[in-house]
Symmetry: C2
Subunit: 177 residues, 2 copies
């Protein structure tokens, strides 16, 4: 922890708490513009100039972010067959899997920041009814709050329904999220 060079370069968040995967997730997605680029990708944008115009981001920063998002497997580059100048940026499965996180963040912003019901509304295509608020659910579907949660050791998972009052591997109330 002593001070070698003049200044330590920015330490990766992932090494702060190795036990938790939140810092690792933030390593790429925590940077400025990353979520906005992801949003634009979900909105159907695929090309450098499209992102540039839509987001109003600087060219070099966009280039840097796209490179990092590709490196971390959230986007993939693909050359266009019809125009070999163009490159397509498309969401990978890993990138698509960020949709719940993004919608949760959006719903939070809707509820607490903008306040307005936000038009248009995101709905299920099948019945045209709004989606539910993103929430934490128990195995049987009950919605849980932070008061209902605790941590147990993975080794004690199997005997969960068995013995109730004994030593049951509870670690802490909220130990490490």
């Amino acid at each position: 922890m002593n001070h070698n060079g003049p200044y330590k370069l920015r330490e990766p968040l992932a090494e702060i708490a190795a036990c938790c995967s939140l810092p690792q997730a933030l390593e790429t997605m925590g940077e400025r513009w990353s979520f906005m680029i992801l949003r634009a990708s979900f909105n159907g944008l695929h090309h450098f100039e499209e992102f540039l115009e839509e987001l109003g981001i600087a060219r070099n920063i966009l280039s840097n972010r796209l490179t990092r998002l590709v490196e971390s497997g959230i986007l993939k580059r693909a050359p266009c067959v019809d125009d070999r100048r163009k490159i397509e940026y498309r969401l990978t499965d890993k990138g698509l899997d960020l949709l719940p996180t993004m919608i949760a963040l959006r719903q939070w912003g809707e509820k607490w920041e903008s306040g307005v019901p936000s038009n248009p509304v995101l709905v299920d295509e099948r019945d045209r009814r709004p989606i539910q608020p993103i929430s934490i659910r128990a195995h049987d579907g009950r919605v849980l709050t932070h008061n209902d949660l605790c941590w147990i050791d993975i080794a004690d998972l199997n005997n969960a329904t068995g013995n109730e009052g004994e030593h049951d591997g509870v670690v802490k109330r909220i130990a490490t999220i």
Copy 2:
């Protein structure tokens, strides 16, 4: 949009796309360390020096972040009655409401970054069984993917189940997340 001073200062993300609340949500939570401080708050830390030691963040940055999180209503300051040097930082309802977002991000990191099942496991206190993956759900509880989603105008919400094939206010496939 023209260029007044030598350089425009950093434009708030919220003004990029006023129609969507994701940029507004990112205004505070998109900064480096914000989610890590939130996580530490959920983990039961309440004091400046605790955050300092736990996160290894610089003092001035921590001070700045805590101020911003308080300003945006995610944390609240409260003086300690037993020791008037101390200040307690506690999650507000707005801050507590970020838990689904944070767990979604954590689960994503677990699945795609660390890979390992991550020990200990977050479980429902009542039956000690792991929580479900955070997901997008239709009003009836079906899990939806990005292929199942579309946007409709809020004015067309009421006649959703009525006329099916007519003009029904569909805006775009994925318009603005």
